[in-house]
């Protein structure tokens, strides 16, 4: 359906306005330019209000303003009823004309002071076919007509706010995207209507056949139980996949939030660890220092005397070298011999000459022998002291090394603590811990559901096998029973039809996903200004969208707002194109977040799209830059400017 025109009466800034979207060129492109506050977004809101009775795009502030035009309120008399009306005129591909009309009556209490009160509302849809026959639908029927032309569930794919495109992939989970693809591609119609109802019809037919024969009934009943079980498994699988997709999305969200932020909990655990280690090392260090002190006290004197000890040992060694040690003669023996005047060894008496020689010898050895004896006596203890000093050196070196090690460790711990403090300062620790906890929760959910999925899958395969066997058995039993021949034919027909639906659905699902993926990629890379940065666009099995960096990693979370907006727009356009869904595309502030130099790319794609799809763009004058203007002015079928009256209570629509 295309929008032919919109008529607005007393709706917000629009007291009385009509905007026609008749195609006048090869481009079904319509441009509306208005400053902020002139009611641009209210055009999008008016369409939503008319078709669905709500205004999801309005800001909180705007929503608080009365729906009734302020000027109309002022002009109204006390107690007077005023009607707000929005009409959306549409035309379908098979030349049906549809007029959606929503009216609300408000009563004015006191002009300009109190807010008006809503008295009544009505919604009507008028459909005129190509032969001129008109049908009017009201109440539930009218809502059903809206669903037929512009389903509410997927309106965000044809009427949307460009500024929110940046958030598109944050808000649209894989499940939502899957839902949109299913709705727009009509897989939903195939699956939830035709397949489901054919399946129920088949059950009805089998039940009827069962009434004719108890054997058939028994097999049918078993088959139905197994099919019910299969359905339950399928539901569980669906739920698991939903939880997995949700967990994946959430993990991605938290990863994005936590990018560059330390894992506070892990850091705090490490901080506590370091503090404990630091305490332990400090105790060991103190112990070693005490040991060192004791050692110094114990060996202090020996160490201080080490030099004289060494010198004494040297003297002894020199004396030994000279042969002075040990002494060669026994001094007391010689003294006794002089006294006895005879040799005490052989008994020969001394003559004067011998006596003199012995006395001379005695004089000679008297002192050195004493010293030598003393020295000999000292030698052992001196060596002991020397060994002790050497041992002291070894122990001291070992202790010093250990002390140094502990001191180094303590310095490292201190450095790490300073680093942790620097890393964590300025962060809201509690919030970050909560994020990590939440992320962990979704990680656990992801793993649990993946495991659960594996378990269900095995059981599902067994049930499928049972179902096939029971189907064969039922078929044989139906063949034997002549009374159910007619029913058997219907069962066979229904089964065949059901299989065709299932097969078609599977193929369409896979092809559609692939086509949307390919087309999104084409549009995205066709528009992209940084062509070398990205490598691929992927729509995964769970319908989540991923942008692949040229280095191979998923980077949707880290790309710029403009690039994300570009991808969202590419995906939306691909969805429209691949599905062949007959609807307009209306974007409020389409390039608000796109830098000037890239706006022209958007302008090009809108022109291209409008060659086979009605495209309505609502720009601010700043957005409608020179480049865009040059590109779109010549192509647009219609251009309008929104002008706010001097009292700011009414907007006029001027054709440019």
């Amino acid at each position: 359906m295309k929008i032919d025109k919109i008529i607005l009466k007393n709706y917000r800034q629009f007291k009385d306005a009509e905007i026609s979207f008749k195609e006048k060129s090869n481009f079904d492109l319509h441009v509306i330019i208005g400053k902020n506050g002139t009611g641009k977004t209210n055009i999008l809101s008016a369409i939503n209000w008319c078709l669905y009775g709500d205004e999801p795009n309005l800001s909180k502030d705007s929503r608080q303003l009365p729906l009734l035009n302020l000027k109309s309120m002022e002009e109204g008399d006390y107690g007077e009823d005023k009607e707000i009306m929005v009409e959306v005129w549409g035309k379908t591909l098979n030349n049906k004309f549809v007029i959606f009309t929503r009216k609300t009556i408000y009563n004015i209490y006191e002009s300009g002071k109190n807010l008006p009160t809503r008295i009544s509302s009505e919604f009507e849809v008028k459909v005129t076919d190509n032969k001129g026959n008109t049908e009017i639908f009201k109440d539930e029927e009218s809502e059903s007509q809206v669903e037929r032309f512009v389903p509410k569930r997927i309106r965000e794919f044809f009427f949307f706010d460009g500024e929110r495109l940046d958030n598109y992939f944050k808000e649209a989970t894989g499940q939502n995207i899957r839902h949109a693809i299913f709705e727009i591609s009509q897989i939903d119609l195939l699956e939830n209507r035709v397949e489901s109802r054919l399946s129920d019809t088949l059950k009805d037919l089998r039940r009827e056949a069962g009434k004719e024969n108890p054997e058939i009934e028994d097999t049918r009943s078993q088959l139905e139980t197994n099919e019910k079980q299969l359905k339950e498994f399928d539901e569980q699988i669906k739920e698991c996949n939903k939880q997995i997709a949700l967990a994946k999305d959430k993990i991605k969200d938290y990863d994005e939030k936590l990018r560059g932020i330390p894992d506070i909990e892990a850091v705090e655990v490490r901080r506590d660890e370091i503090k404990t280690l630091k305490q332990q090392k400090k105790e060991l260090l103190d112990e070693k220092l005490k040991e060192k002190e004791n050692l110094l006290f114990e060996y202090g004197k020996v160490v201080m005397l080490y030099s004289p000890i060494k010198q004494s040992i040297k003297i002894i060694e020199e004396k030994r070298k000279k042969g002075e040690l040990p002494p060669t003669q026994d001094k007391s023996l010689l003294e006794n011999m002089v006294k006895e005047k005879s040799c005490l060894i052989c008994g020969r008496p001394f003559d004067a000459d011998v006596k003199k020689r012995v006395e001379d010898l005695l004089k000679e050895i008297k002192l050195s022998s004493e010293v030598a004896k003393q020295l000999e006596y000292m030698e052992g203890p001196l060596h002991n002291f020397e060994d002790k000093v050497m041992n002291f050196n070894n122990i001291m070196q070992k202790i010093t090394k250990e002390v140094k090690g502990y001191e180094d460790d303590l310095a490292d711990y201190e450095q790490e603590l300073i680093k942790i403090d620097a890393e964590t300062s300025g962060y809201n620790s509690e919030k970050i811990k909560d994020w990590h906890k939440e992320r962990k929760k979704f990680e656990d959910s992801f793993t649990q559901n993946l495991q659960k999925l594996g378990g269900i899958d095995g059981k599902r395969k067994d049930i499928l096998k049972n179902i096939e066997n029971l189907k064969g058995q039922l078929d044989d039993e139906l063949k034997k029973e002549k009374k159910v021949k007619k029913l058997k034919n219907q069962i066979d027909f229904c089964t065949k039809a059901l299989n065709v639906v299932k097969k078609t659905k599977e193929i369409i699902m896979s092809e559609t996903r692939k086509k949307i993926e390919d087309r999104t990629k084409d549009i995205f890379f066709g528009l992209l200004w940084k062509k070398a940065t990205f490598k691929d666009v992927k729509i995964e099995e769970d319908y989540s969208i991923n942008l692949i960096h040229s280095l191979g990693y998923e980077c949707l979370g880290s790309v710029s707002a403009g690039e994300r907006e570009l991808l969202a727009l590419s995906f939306t356009l691909a969805l429209h194109e691949v599905s062949g869904f007959d609807s307009p595309i209306l974007i409020d502030t389409p390039v608000a977040r796109i830098s000037d130099e890239h706006r022209v790319n958007f302008g090009k794609i809108f022109s291209e799209v409008s060659s086979n799809k009605q495209t309505i763009l609502l720009f601010t004058p700043a957005e409608y830059s020179k480049d865009i203007k040059e590109l779109l002015d010549v192509r647009a079928s219609n251009r309008f400017a929104l002008k706010l009256s001097s009292d700011e209570k009414e907007t006029r629509v001027e054709v440019l």
Binding site: M1, T92, S185, V194, R197, I507, G580
Partner: protein, 63 residues
Amino acid sequence: MGDGKINEPILKGIIENSEKDEKISKFLIDLLYEEAEHPGGQWRWRENYRKKIEQYLYNEVLL
């Protein structure tokens, strides 16, 4: 959806997967249009499905 229109890929898919069984393909296309005509899903589908099975099965609808 979109004025009771059925997307081309679905129609093609039904025809191809019916493997030249026109009774089946036309029956399914008929059901699809019928469902698309009732976007709210509220219609007497149970008896209509049964009726259509008989009609297409016994050639009561011109193929």
